[in-house]
Symmetry: C3
Subunit: 148 residues, 3 copies
């Protein structure tokens, strides 16, 4: 997947970059705790989640919640704790006021009583939009390194 690297280097206020880091932390902590309805609410109502491992993009917050809930239940049933790490974040403003953010994402999986492992290494490309008091994901594209 092609990540933004050409554009004018540094173009976002530090404040916004910090907010995105904090948002990503809170967002993925929700997912990793199995709070999938709250996690889905970090997407816009018409949000799109396009994961390379899925047959097609998931459209709408309700569909994203349903998908996340099913996946989460599966891990819980296996006694596996997931931790989603987003890092190496690069972000830039877009003409329409949204923010384009690229990052790497790892899923660390730990079975009860067992050893942690890297479940997946991915790239993540987001369109982020500010709604009331927080950021939301309008569009997320996740590409798994093993499938690309």
């Amino acid at each position: 997947v092609a990540l933004r690297t050409e554009s004018p280097a540094i173009s976002l206020p530090a404040e916004t970059y910090y907010e995105i880091q904090d948002f990503y932390a809170r967002q993925m902590q929700l997912l990793d705790e199995g709070r999938t309805e709250e996690w889905a609410s970090t997407f816009t109502e018409d949000g799109v989640f396009d994961a390379s491992a899925a047959p097609e993009p998931v459209r709408s917050r309700a569909a994203i919640a349903a998908g996340a809930s099913a996946a989460s239940a599966g891990f819980t049933a296996q006694g596996i704790q997931r931790r989603h790490w987003l890092g190496m974040i690069s972000a830039a403003p877009r003409a329409d006021g949204t923010v384009s953010a690229q990052c790497y994402a790892l899923v660390i999986t730990t079975p009860k009583g067992g050893r942690p492992a890297i479940g997946a290494s991915t790239t993540c490309n987001d369109i982020l939009v500010r709604e009331s008091d927080d950021w939301k994901v309008q569009e997320r594209k996740v590409v798994r390194d093993d499938l690309s």
Copy 2:
């Protein structure tokens, strides 16, 4: 462990968020270099370190130093280099002027001449307080994913 996710989304100055990231980096580099006395000095004098893997919370800087020193000596004896990665940080101010910070933490272990592995995947909840020219940990709670 329940991480903060409900509260007013973004409430800390960018400056403070950056300071905490830089503090975490310096703090854990001390531990990973075996400079355990200096590492312990990143806690307040009455600091508490509550790790789920330990029988009970360690109380006071001196006790934290002693515990870290023993653990560090064990890894050195085995020729294992540890690297503590703290990431996915979310932070918020508390009414008393301290800062509550939640993050994920990984311990990466590398034996001399061997392959790196993830020694532990954890959550870390801190109460941070500003003392003179730097942050200090007043209370740290670390929960290992394999034990929870």
Copy 3:
């Protein structure tokens, strides 16, 4: 390797710390996409790349490009996707206007159709200099944990 930990704790504007994080993300995304000429252009013309795994430091942007290109071709031939994660960043201004930055770096490797693994755990010490509209690496020293 000795990392900076003594100095006056917090001395860089939040803006600069953010810029460095964003720069590291864009820089390593270039390398991981095999865009090695562009990656080399994130070093100064006389940049030095000193990796503990190499027999001696690589000097000049052209030599850095050549080395990266050869290494990248090798991974591509094996069908391995690399992801360089830089984190736990601590940075401080130097008297000459450059910035000294210390961090940890992991290389995550994923074979096509296979499982991700940690290829290397390292420390990374940079001298960064601002050139026109972005940061550049003047000197980078990478020490692998398994070799130190």
